[in-house]
């Protein structure tokens, strides 16, 4: 099941990369090569791919993912305007530091998504994470160095969505 899902994903990416949109017809050789390559990847490397493969076939999770995307993009754009403001301001209003936050997410994919979301959103950059669910965040303008307060500021707005998507 797991291999089949990754096979289909790899094959779709292959088809998108090699699709001859200009001629409008599919080249048989390319499809066969893609079939072999995708089969090889999904059989050999399925163990290093994410373990939460059921996400890709669950409509509810895909729905929440699609809801999450606009929210995520809003924060990405705000993050960029924030960085532009700090970079161009003559006095450079920064107060950096590394704070610690606690996440309630459990699965590896969810924590990866949380870390990446935190990095792309206003003023924060994930530096490291520990096995017991703490993340070390470089914050460009530290509002609070308390674990609880920092978690509230940084992680809570994503955890709700990521829980729906990944757990």
């Amino acid at each position: 099941m797991r291999r089949l899902i990754y096979f289909v994903l790899a094959f779709v990416i292959w088809i998108l990369l090699t699709w001859p949109f200009v001629e409008g017809k599919i080249d048989g050789q390319v499809v066969i090569a893609g079939f072999i390559a995708s089969a090889f990847v999904s059989i050999m490397f399925h163990e290093i791919l994410p373990k939460e493969h059921h996400i890709f076939v669950s409509p509810v999770r895909i729905f929440w993912f699609l809801v999450y995307m606009p929210v995520f993009f809003y924060y990405v754009v705000m993050a960029n305007l924030d960085v532009v403001y700090r970079a161009l301001h003559p006095k450079m209003p920064i107060k950096p530091g590394i704070v610690k936050i606690k996440t309630t997410l459990k699965t590896e994919s969810a924590i990866t998504a949380l870390a990446n979301s935190i990095t792309l959103t206003p003023g924060t950059l994930t530096v490291d994470l520990t096995d017991d669910g703490f993340l070390y965040i470089h914050w460009i303008y530290v509002k609070s160095d308390d674990v609880e307060q920092a978690t509230k500021h940084i992680a809570q707005r994503f955890e709700w969505f990521l829980k729906k998507i990944f757990e």
């Binding site: 998108l16 993050a79 950059l125 470089h138 460009i140 160095d145």
Partner: protein, 110 residues
């Protein structure tokens, strides 16, 4: 019409890239510079690629541009984590005016 939207996205993307580079030069230490470069360059390059896809229309080139955009969105923050952790592990200090460093306790702990 779609062409114009595509060109506008390309221009905005290049502007964000430029601002990211200004941040890269102005900010004081590795971690702040990573903030500027990761955020601005990710969004800038993403918008650039989406703009290219819109200008080129329904073609093989725009498919590749969209796939590249998605991969940049996934890999760029991951690369930033690796650089930040590597910088800290190899002893790069935080900026002297930094207010707090909780990560030092974690390093001492081990």
């Amino acid at each position: 019409m779609i062409d114009i939207i595509g060109y506008i996205l390309i221009i905005i993307g290049i502007l964000f890239d430029i601002f990211g580079c200004i941040g890269l030069v102005r900010f004081p230490d590795v971690y702040n510079r990573l903030q500027a470069s990761t955020k601005c360059v990710t969004l800038g390059t993403f918008l650039l690629l989406i703009g290219v896809a819109l200008v080129c229309g329904w073609s093989a080139l725009s498919m590749k541009a969209i796939i590249c955009a998605v991969f940049i969105l996934i890999t760029s923050p991951t690369a930033a984590h690796a650089i930040a952790k590597g910088a800290y592990a190899s002893g790069v200090e935080l900026w002297e005016n930094s207010v707090v460093d909780k990560y030092a306790e974690e390093i001492d702990h081990h």
